[in-house]
């Protein structure tokens, strides 16, 4: 209850001061180059990694990338770069 309130407050503050949401809210910042490359900053780990489907944990839940020949080009704490033929991106929001 408290956490949810804090989240809403931060959201409102961010909107009010036009602050970058990824910095303030620790939200993932996703950059997609065509359908070949995808850069996810502020991720919180890999849940599953298969050549057809990669699930990545983020602050707001889970980001699911589907495609073929998916490959983790590089993996850092907080940054993951994915190469391959990307066909779909899905955001699954956690209830929290």
């Amino acid at each position: 209850m408290v956490k949810a309130f804090k989240g809403r407050l931060l959201q409102n503050l961010t909107d009010a001061f036009e602050l970058p949401a990824d910095v303030v809210l620790n939200l993932p910042r996703i950059t997609i180059t065509g359908s070949l490359q995808m850069l996810i900053e502020n991720h919180q780990g890999i849940i599953a990694y298969e050549p057809e489907k990669i699930r990545i944990r983020t602050r707001q839940g889970e980001t699911v990338i589907t495609g073929t020949g998916l490959k983790i080009d590089s993996l850092f704490a907080g940054e993951v770069r994915i190469n391959g033929r990307i066909s779909g991106i899905e955001f699954r929001h956690s209830r929290g």
Binding site: G45, A48, S74
Partner: protein
Amino acid sequence: MLIRELWSYHRGYVIIKVKGTGLEEFLNRAAAKGIYLWDVERLSRELLIAKVSIADFRQLREAVRKVPVTVRIRQRVGLPFWRQKLSQRLVLLAGALLSLACIYVLSSIIWFVQIDGLERLDHDFVTGILQEAGVGPGAWRNSIDPREVEKYLLLRIPSLAWAGVRLRGTLVEVALVEKTEIPDDEQLPGDIVANRNALVTQIIPFAGTVLVKEGEAVTEGQVLIAGALDPHMPSPGDDSGRYLRAAGMVRGRVWYRGFGEASVVSRVSRRTGQSCTGSRLTAGRWSWQWGDVEPPFRQYEEEVETRGLVLPRFGWELPIRLETIRFFELVTETVEIDLETAKEAALRRSWEAIAAKMTPGAEILSQEVDVTTEEHSGEVLVRARRTVEVHEEIGVFRALPGETPEETWEGSR
């Protein structure tokens, strides 16, 4: 991405094979530890390949200790590994360095000298001069200054007009241009003299002192343009005066006389068709002869054919000769031609007599022909006298006696 490849190659990395059930767990833990993984490829459910730098790999074992995976090195890539391998093979390293040093040393030595542009100069002579200048196979490249070598060549070989020296790797290219030399006998001092008796009409002097005037009659051998700077010098051989090579054109009128005669009746010898043959074989001091060796005719013509034996292989002539002698009987006949034909023949002969003396291509100013017919002991003779006045070059160069090319003093300098 090329930059990343090069950088990681420089720093060294390993390709690892991760096997187990918690592959995602492995990735997350590694990432959480700040370990950089790249080119992560999942080959199957329980198998994953990734690349990790050497520095990170050491931390990797620590980081994934609790994860149910096994990490194996599949391949070591990069310079650090090469360095390590080489440090175990010092002889190989030394050999590589030695061969590099050899290439360096050998390529800083001159191997070849190429000389172009030789016409009259001798190749070996120029090679010798180049050796003196320190240019030759085996010389150090650095010790050669092309400009200095060019200067030296020009100093040592006076007949050079230009010299170019260029270093091209281990080759020295020497390009030479020889002076176009005036032949020695064209540099001798001397005079222009008349080569026949004439009346001077035109003098165009190029060098020297003109001694005659236009309209003057000159005799053969007379000096027309003197090479002496002071023409009143006591004697041409006197060293006190300088002599140069006189040059110029002198034209004059020259008269030629030609004479030709022809007889109306002419005697012609003709072969009768009778002939005989004799042979003589000579071997050293002995000789054999057969056939008609002595002529059986009162009037005859003789043809001798000599054949020697030569060994073609060695060019020796054996002292054996075979002579074949043929005699032809002759008969003299009197042929009469008409007067006009005889006149033409006389005129032609008189012209031929002049043409032999005249400069070819001389300009004919006038000519006179006088034809007479004479009765001479029963024979009729036609005589033609021809006088031709021509305008032609009469000056020729005559070198001073006793002059050698070294003592030449050229008027142009």
